[in-house]
């Protein structure tokens, strides 16, 4: 064990891991996080806290992590390189580790063009792969990026994202290979609706032997309705929602569509569990955290190993 991360412990023990995510509020009310936390108690091994996802200003991932930490969770700090240069990044890494955060997810982040402040200047001093290298260097070498020694190394379990559905498809497994070479230890994928394409990607990943070097958690997001499915398909970059999913949701009455969405999730998780190289699931129930328990239960993932 390189860290005190519960997620690392669960994965190390060979358990099929379950993580979820929590989107912080657009305000200073800590109870929003606490309420979401309540819904996830006993359901997950770790909780991601998004970092101004879609470039919309929200409570910081760092502070939301601390609120969840107080509740007994093992939070996963999402960090994007869009808003911070290497000085701020290294400083936040030290601060997070000092306050007992054990996991970090290294991301480049959505471009600010999508967000609520499209006039903003972005940073991108480093990219997501370089962020992985940064955390690893600080943790394993005890050094800053300038090679100066730091006084106490931050012990963070290092994660990153992978999107098998973005283009060009042929480099998606290779890019995961770069992240592995940079030192990533767990991966959470983009939400999977197109199982065929995901399987193809996983085949490449397994052929390259990457599944033995990194723990891959498959991303799952329940669809609430046909409308949401269409929105994800057409308006969210890098999202692949096949027509058969939309047809299936359309085939049930409107009031039953969310149940159908949960059913699809559970079926997907069952199929993913069978797939070689999948070490867990990452359930992102966007503003629908109350459903995570039902999904985990339905997929036979409860109870979770005790922390």
């Amino acid at each position: 064990m390189k860290t005190d991360s519960n997620l690392e412990k669960v994965l190390e023990a060979g358990e099929f891991a379950v993580t979820s995510e929590c989107g912080p509020p657009r305000g200073a009310d800590p109870d929003v996080i606490r309420d979401k936390g309540e819904l996830l108690k006993g359901v997950v091994d770790g909780v991601n806290i998004t970092d101004c996802q879609t470039s919309v200003v929200r409570m910081s991932s760092f502070s939301s992590c601390l609120i969840l930490k107080e509740m007994g969770f093992d939070p996963i700090l999402q960090m994007v390189t869009r808003d911070r240069n290497r000085i701020a990044i290294q400083s936040d890494i030290l601060g997070a580790a000092a306050l007992g955060i054990n996991n970090i997810l290294c991301l480049s982040g959505d471009h600010q063009r999508f967000g609520d402040h499209p006039q903003a200047k972005n940073v991108y001093d480093i990219d997501s792969i370089q962020l992985i290298m940064t955390v690893k260097k600080m943790r394993d070498e005890g050094k800053f990026l300038n090679d100066e020694e730091l006084t106490k190394a931050p012990r963070l379990f290092i994660g990153a994202a992978a999107n098998p559905f973005a283009d060009p498809f042929e480099i998606r497994a290779l890019r995961l290979g770069k992240k592995v070479a940079a030192g990533v230890e767990f991966i959470q994928t983009q939400c999977i609706y197109n199982l065929k394409r995901f399987e193809e990607w996983m085949r490449q990943v397994v052929d390259m032997g990457l599944h033995e070097k990194v723990c891959i958690l498959a991303g799952i997001t329940p669809l609430k309705s046909v409308g949401m499915a269409r929105y994800m398909k057409n308006l969210v970059p890098g999202m692949d929602v096949p027509d058969e999913i939309i047809e299936r949701l359309k085939g049930v009455p409107k009031e039953k569509q969310s149940d159908e969405g949960i059913k699809i999730c559970i079926e997907t998780i069952r199929k993913l569990r069978e797939m070689e190289g999948i070490r867990g699931v990452h359930i992102m129930a966007i503003e629908w955290e109350e459903k995570v328990r039902e999904i985990a239960e339905g997929a036979g993932l409860l109870p979770r190993p005790t922390a």
């Binding site: 471009h111 999508f114 283009d167």
Partner: protein, 223 residues
């Protein structure tokens, strides 16, 4: 070249509103090539300002000049003899030219008639596109001759983000994904295998604008 475009006539009229005798100065360099600040544009703009001011019943005297370059003291000094006869300078060079005017003629206000946009080139008649950000440490030999810093909206150095779709960038479907272009070109050159998997180290941005005002001294050329 430096690509620029004209400010709106309303914005320009507002800048020169309190003056009735101005120097309008174009540049025969980049901005003439991109049809924003050359001799022809000087004529058009002067006539537009005169017409507008005439309409308002406040005529304005404009002297039209187009210099060889506004980024070179030798040419900027060519107006020395008569600059003092005017209340303001309206420069339709790039931002460099406007500042050279301000530096050389400190007691005459200088106004920008253009918005300086980017370093780029023409794609076709009337269309220009950005190609370089002047980071001061060129990596084009490693990236198939396509600049990741300029052409990737996030300036990523290690491959496309998860927002690349059908060769387009997540920011705008009219923007090509810079990394798709790099990958395609590396393949043409037979360099994909060797280049793509190599992790691009964290970039030293101190040669970029981030290192403060940049200055270059060529000892071999100094007199």
């Amino acid at each position: 070249m430096i690509v620029a475009e004209g400010k709106s006539i309303d914005e320009i009229l507002e800048m020169v509103d309190k003056y009735d005798k101005i120097l309008l100065i174009g540049c025969k360099g980049c901005v003439a090539v991109c049809a924003a600040g050359g001799e022809k544009e000087v004529q058009f703009l002067a006539s537009a300002i005169r017409t507008a001011r005439k309409r308002d019943g406040r005529e304005i005297e404009i002297r039209e000049v187009t210099l060889e370059r506004q980024c070179d003291p030798e040419y900027v000094e060519q107006i020395r003899g008569y600059a003092g006869d005017y209340q303001a300078i309206l420069s339709i060079a790039c931002g460099v030219g406007v500042q050279y005017m301000a530096e050389h003629y400190r007691d005459i206000p200088a106004f920008p008639g253009l918005n300086t946009s980017f370093m780029g080139g023409a794609l076709e008649q009337g269309v220009w596109s950005e190609r370089c950000q002047g980071c001061g440490n060129c990596v084009l030999h490693l990236t198939g001759g396509i600049c990741p810093i300029t052409r990737c909206s996030k300036s990523l150095l290690n491959g496309p983000c998860g927002g690349s779709s059908n060769g387009k960038c997540e920011v705008n479907p009219e923007i090509e994904c810079g990394w798709q272009l790099i990958i395609d070109r590396l393949k043409v050159l037979g360099e994909f295998e060797s280049r793509f998997m190599e992790i691009f180290p964290i970039k030293d941005w101190s040669s970029s604008r981030d290192g403060g005002l940049r200055k270059m001294v060529r000892e071999d050329m100094k007199q």
